[in-house]
Each structure stands twice: as structure tokens, then as C-alpha cells.
Subunit: 280 residues, 2 copies
């Protein structure tokens, strides 16, 4: 099995792939769209990309791509706990408190904002494309007094020393990754529960449509675990909604509700029914 | 009147301020939080910050700040059409097609993605803090064959020549800005309509709460023009909702609905009733 993932090696996406597909041949892609195009064009068997972070919210690029493009269904969701560590080149361990510049992904820097403000008020901060890319850069430049914020796998892969563990500000940080594939996937790990994702566009000329949609779910006791709006790119105030259901799309009551919602004039895109897996 | 705005001069926020408050003393702030702190601490009479772009979606920093901090009420909303132009230093006009690097804000670069891909495939692209900052940089470096993507006001202020107008990919792009102030503001311009914004946190232990909230509005024919979710930063799946109503919070039916929604166990934060103004 060839698995495209949002790279480089040792990103959190890479951790997601390795935890659920330990035997897959992992192929790193530079961007999320390239990753999704690879599975669409059947260059790989599956693609793994980030969908939502508990602190920063949805990854808009992934959500918009799922809405606007025809992609294979979602076959699995992987939840990875996000632990950020402070790491330097082994030659600079003794002097780590004198770090002059700290590099990482913009989200990781945001997640460690309080730590940086408290401990490294006078150090410069620079964004890089990913936490793994930052770790790689620091490993290649021992002459610079720089540090990276990244995960444990990146420290191991690039031979950096973690001098301060778990420096993120909020303890409950997780990221959800989705796995897209045309064919069913064999997964050894035990799932935590089943769910589905759909995207709904409301008719523009009717007030109260969202309430009607939620009514169609509510009286059938179909539980929603997520409801999120995204702009349609057609003007202010035009949205589509991404909705997660704690049910399979094959359940009879779910099928009836979607049929009715379509009859109300809504567009419904079904992204798939799948299980959640925990990377821990 | 002193108006804090997300600067530097000639940003789209600056255009919003000048169109509705032509006589205000404008004070540029480097970041959105600094702008909001200034009005909270009464260093200025009002603060103007971006809230939502029609293509890129909400400005998460503003939304989260409104939720987590106690700020003065929203007193007005200003909608600015977003037109991006391609501009170079006057010395480089003849050779503008040989531009080697293009600089702008990340959103502006995203909004002109197709144009850049079509016309400047081989030029480098670099992000700067704002469109105005990019224009300023290009104006100070005539020796570089660089171009900026920015608005007309920035071209005038920094003495750049617009060589290609309206290069944005989608024609309907607008940004909403909000004005926060403790005191009522005198506005000469005619408003387009009145609205209100609230933020609702659902009780975590009850399914179907969002449906109940929308029911409370729906049977009273209270129209929602926006409903958006944001993560609460307490774990995956915990959200608050930002809701715009096409009504004043003083209307009797609105007051009843909010009272009932609170009785259901929801937390409701009222951000204010205000009018929309068009910058055109």
C-alpha cells in the first residue's frame, strides 16, 4: 500500500500514518493539494491530510478542497495528540537558554505562545513550512544558536536533543487527520467509534433552512458531533456546512433524512462513513 | 475622535476607517490584539479590525479575542470591496513583465493565485505582514525588480505605478470590519441595515442543543444571517457559535428568545446591535 502524506518525514501527519498503517510505503508530498491530487489520480492507494486542530480549528485548505473537488471517500480518521518539544543541536545543549532564534510551523509557535513569551522574550521567532522542516534546518546548522519546536519523532530523525518537553500552552491539543482512498482499507488497530461526514449547501432564497436541516436530524435522534460553516467564495454571507454524524450513512433513518433535506432544496455531498482511530 | 486601526497606513482597514469616519484621528497599530487592547484601555475612542473575508473566512484572531475578552460593544460594521492591483516602482514600469519577485499579504497572494500562476509562473513570491507593508517595501527599493499586490490607496501613498488592475481571481470579494467603542458613534453616512451579533456556548452534556437554539429563533421568525463555529480550546469537538441576527437585541421577541436559550443551559454573550455601512 502506498500512502501519500503531508510531509516531510516526521510531521504529525507522518505520525498518524505510522500509527495506523505501520506497513504502508509512505510517500511525502509538499502540500495538501498535491497529496489529495495523488490519490485522486491513483498514483497512490491512500492520502492522509490534517483536517482539524482542537485549538486552531479546521484546516481551511483541506475543507475547501473536499467541497470543491471530487475525491475518493474518507475511509478513516486518525486522532493524534499534539505534544510540542523544544530541541537544539547536540552541540548547543549546554547553552540552550541562550538560543537566539526559534523556528517552527506557525501553528506550533501559536500553541507555545505563552512559553515563548515567558522564557524567550528576547529571542527571534521564525515560521517554517512544518515542524519537521524546522527540526531539519536546525540539525543542519550547528553553528547557529537556533532551536526548533517539533515532535519527538522529528528530534530522533534529525538527531536533535529535546531540552524542554511539552511546552505547549493548552494540555488537550489534538489534531484530526483523514484518510482518503477508493478501496476499503484493512486496519489492524481497534476503532473507537463510527461516524460520517457530509457537506450541505442551503438554498439561498429561504430563511430558516439550517433550522429545517437540523430538525430533520433532531426528531430522528441523529446526533451531530460537529457543525461548521465555510464561505462559498460567491459573496459575503454565503456558506456551506460541514457536518459530522455519529452514525453510518447506510442507516435507514439517515438515508430518509438526507433524502428529505435534498427535497428541501439543499445540496448534500456525502464524504463517507468511517471509523475513528486514536494514535496513542 | 481617536480611531485605532490594524495598520500600517493604506491597509484595507484604513480604507474602512476613512470611508465612514473621515474626520477621525487615525492611529495605526501593528496587530489586531494591540488594536483591541487600545480601545479596552481607553487610549482611543474606537478600534477598527477585520472580522471576515468573503473568500478566506473569519479572521480567527478577532473572533477568539471577542469571545475570550471583555471588550466594548460593536457599534458599526463596514463592508469594503477588495480590489487587488499589481504595482511596481515608477522606474520599473517599462520592464514590469520581467518582475523577479512579488510581495504581499498571504491572503492577497491567495486571492490572486490564478493570475500569478498564469502570468508569473517563474517569479518568486514572498509574504509580508500586510499589503501596505509590501507596497512600502517596493517603493523603497527601486533597484530590485520587485512588485507588490495591494490596493489603490497604497499605490498613491507610496508612489507606485499600477500596471495591471483588478488581478484578483474572484469578483465578489469583500471584507467585513467591525468598530468597537464604549460610547455611541456619530456617523454621517447612511446605513444599509441593522443587525446584531451574539456568541453562544452550548451545554456539553446535551445532544440537539444547537437545534433547540435555532428553534427558539425560527418559530419567532428571527432571521440569522450568519452561523459559524469556532473551537473552544478545551478539546476536539467543543465549539462556540458566532451568530448574526437581522434584528436589534432590544426587540421583545429577541429578548425572549435569548432568555429561553440561557434557560436551556447555554451561555450567551451579546456583542452588540449595530448598522452595516458600505465603503463604496
Amino acid at each position: 500500500m502506498r500512502a501519500a502524506f503531508f510531509g516531510p518525514e516526521a510531521t504529525f501527519t507522518d505520525i498518524a500514518v505510522q500509527s495506523v498503517f505501520p506497513d504502508a510505503r509512505r510517500i511525502a508530498y509538499r502540500t495538501i493539494p498535491e497529496c489529495l491530487e495523488a490519490v485522486k489520480e491513483k498514483q497512490v492507494d491512500m492520502a492522509v491530510v490534517p483536517l482539524e486542530n482542537a485549538l486552531e480549528g479546521s484546516v481551511n485548505l483541506t475543507v475547501d478542497y473536499l467541497y470543491h473537488e471530487d475525491l475518493p471517500p474518507i475511509r478513516a480518521e486518525i486522532v493524534v495528540p499534539i505534544e510540542q518539544h523544544f530541541m537544539v543541536h547536540p552541540e548547543n545543549v549546554a547553552e540552550w537558554r541562550k538560543t537566539e532564534k526559534i523556528v517552527s510551523h506557525s501553528h506550533a509557535l501559536a500553541q507555545c505562545h505563552k512559553f515563548l513569551h515567558r522564557e524567550f522574550k528576547h529571542a527571534a521567532v521564525e515560521q517554517m513550512g512544518s515542524t519537521a522542516a524546522a527540526a531539519k534546518y536546525v540539525s543542519e546548522h550547528p553553528e547557529l544558536k537556533w532551536a526548533a519546536i517539533a515532535n519527538e519523532m522529528a528530534a530522533e530523525l534529525y538527531g536533535l536533543e529535546i531540552v524542554k518537553r511539552s511546552i505547549h500552552d493548552y494540555p488537550f491539543n489534538h489534531t484530526r487527520f483523514i484518510v482518503l482512498a477508493y478501496n476499503k482499507l484493512e486496519i489492524q488497530k481497534a476503532p473507537s467509534f463510527q461516524k460520517s461526514t457530509i457537506m450541505i449547501t442551503l438554498p439561498t432564497d429561504k430563511a430558516g433552512s439550517l433550522h429545517q436541516v437540523l430538525s430533520a436530524f433532531a426528531w430522528r435522534e441523529i446526533n451531530l458531533s460537529k457543525l461548521e460553516s465555510r464561505p462559498l467564495k460567491t459573496g459575503l454571507g454565503n456558506y456551506f456546512f460541514m457536518i459530522d454524524l455519529n452514525h453510518s450513512l447506510d442507516e435507514k433513518l439517515v438515508r430518509f433524512s438526507l433524502e428529505e433535506i435534498r427535497a428541501l432544496g439543499c445540496t448534500v455531498k456525502e464524504l463517507g462513513s468511517y471509523c475513528r482511530y486514536m494514535a496513542e
